[in-house]
Symmetry: C2
Amino acid sequence: MKSDRTKPEAQPRVTILDVARAAGVSKSSVSRFLDERMPKSDSETAQRVRQIAIDMGYVRDVSASSLRRGKTGMIGVIVPRLTDTVMAMLYESLAHAAARSGQFTIVATTEDEPGADRRAADILLRRGVDGLILSTARHGEDFTDELVDRGVPFVLTLRTDGKCRSSVGDDCLGGYLATRHLIDLGHRRIGLIAGPNYASSATGRVEGYRKAMAEAGLAVDPEWIRSSTFGIESGGEAARQLMALKESPSAIFAINDNTAIGALSALSRLGLSVPNDISLVGYNDIPVVSHLPTPLTSVKIPFEQIATAAFELLSSETVSARERIRVAMPTLIPRSSSRPWSEKS
Amino acid sequence: MKSDRTKPEAQPRVTILDVARAAGVSKSSVSRFLDERMPKSDSETAQRVRQIAIDMGYVRDVSASSLRRGKTGMIGVIVPRLTDTVMAMLYESLAHAAARSGQFTIVATTEDEPGADRRAADILLRRGVDGLILSTARHGEDFTDELVDRGVPFVLTLRTDGKCRSSVGDDCLGGYLATRHLIDLGHRRIGLIAGPNYASSATGRVEGYRKAMAEAGLAVDPEWIRSSTFGIESGGEAARQLMALKESPSAIFAINDNTAIGALSALSRLGLSVPNDISLVGYNDIPVVSHLPTPLTSVKIPFEQIATAAFELLSSETVSARERIRVAMPTLIPRSSSRPWSEKS
DNA sequence: AACGTTGTTGGGAACGTTCCCATAGTCAAT
DNA sequence: ATTGACTATGGGAACGTTCCCAACAACGTT
């Protein structure tokens, strides 16, 4: 009970006034010298004052600064959940990008529930964020209109609505690359574990799939396309359905790594081997998939690049229609889960 | 180019003064009526003023409020990384717990690098957090002393240094349960993929392992214990080393699910089947492990409970020595990766 | 009727910073 | 020497809220 290792009394704060007094200049000057927004100012005194501030242990009070400036330097990020590694990767990249421009991100989650993004945005805006980055865009929702009306700067990422400023991966290309890879390996009957159709990331990849199939002159049986919720369980269910078809596919392209993992598990439980009996390709290249017993072929998304572009879009005053949606190129990473196929086997 | 869907001019803010004017009372009264910290106040006028505030779309300016109150209502959380699902689960639980007490969490990551927690704490403190929750405690580091000196309230979580306020899982019990489970199944030679010895979570589980082995009268060959970095790759390497022993183990307890996944992969590549040739138990019960081709037996940690306790510790003025370290009970979740063993096979 | 006790109210001064503006200083060109 | 055009400086007023305190009202007790 005697020496509780927390909470002695806090030291009194060193203010800009203390620094001013110590340096023999006015608070206004100190404020100017310490203003990170104007790069020049390195006169004789400026440097001296800055050094004194450091020596005295001065740290700017963000509350006071934000109050006066009308900006907090915080950007709100909305993701479905952080326990989805893809979203965690995105968020970490966004946090890095923010730090690079002297800003800071705070995050709120929606669990992918329909109305939750509005609530999340509200919480973040109450906290005083200067802008929002949303990865929860849904086709046919007017939530973004509300943000526009309120004058809140925002950018969509990973998923776009096709209208608002967005920084996304080229999902169509990614879907094409994945499917094309399987076609090149000799597969003809390729199943698709699609995503929910409210997400542009999912529909884009489906589009890429169709494009690759069409280009190869392969007809797509509608039965080959099964939707999912992006979840592992859901991917397993879709895989089971695909394998229950009279002419089951020899390869499956899963809309993301989660559904691919679910599929892997379901296939294994059906006594099917990946890649001997069936090839499998995922999407996102989350760390775990390269370390599975059968390392998964997947499509890598350049998150850092997407995050950087998102911040550029967020901070630019106006953006031409052409540049409103920034698209980053994905890369296919071939691994053991996909292998050549010949029809006779 | 014409209708850029972001940035019209922002509306002028509704202040407490506007509300006061509209309601015909003083700003002081409005401030009091809207103060969430005092629950009582529901006089006639109080309710009327509150309603007017809502109708006018008033939202409190956190910067001004924080400046005056000297508190921001933000708690900083430091984790190694969010792309580790365990840490993401922890953070989400902490975020929930914070929301329940009207607070908000912001997060910074360290990548588990030695000095990075100090930097992360600095960033968060500059942002004005009222306190810190650290999951990066290391044995034999004096970083926490610095926080104590500066008068910053903080709590350790998941990992403890044994001195400061902490909210952790009972790692010794968890390690015991996992090992005991394998012993009960008939295993006698049980390998351990330990963690880095700077983390109390890892050393606690090792302790539990030793306890269970000792209790069963089983000698522990030092060769059976391999350290790791908590990473997938590292778990695979440890598993390979274990299986290279002249008398290789019939079961492996991995310090966390990541190393278990790495082990699973390595074993599979050695042509060994889990659980037929060897049993495997992980720790943390991250979502993916229950959906692997061989669902993994794991130990579940009550994150919500740990998060709640962390906030209680953070906000309580004084804490008796006995209650300084709060310990939550883990639960073993048996799945297919562990099965009975008899020596003759 | 005078007294404390309790509760509610509004005026005004903080909180620490930034920004506007007026003043003073420097230099070059007239 | 006077003007003009800059640049560096400090005083003071914001920013929106909370908190202190004094004023007042309402009540029951002596």
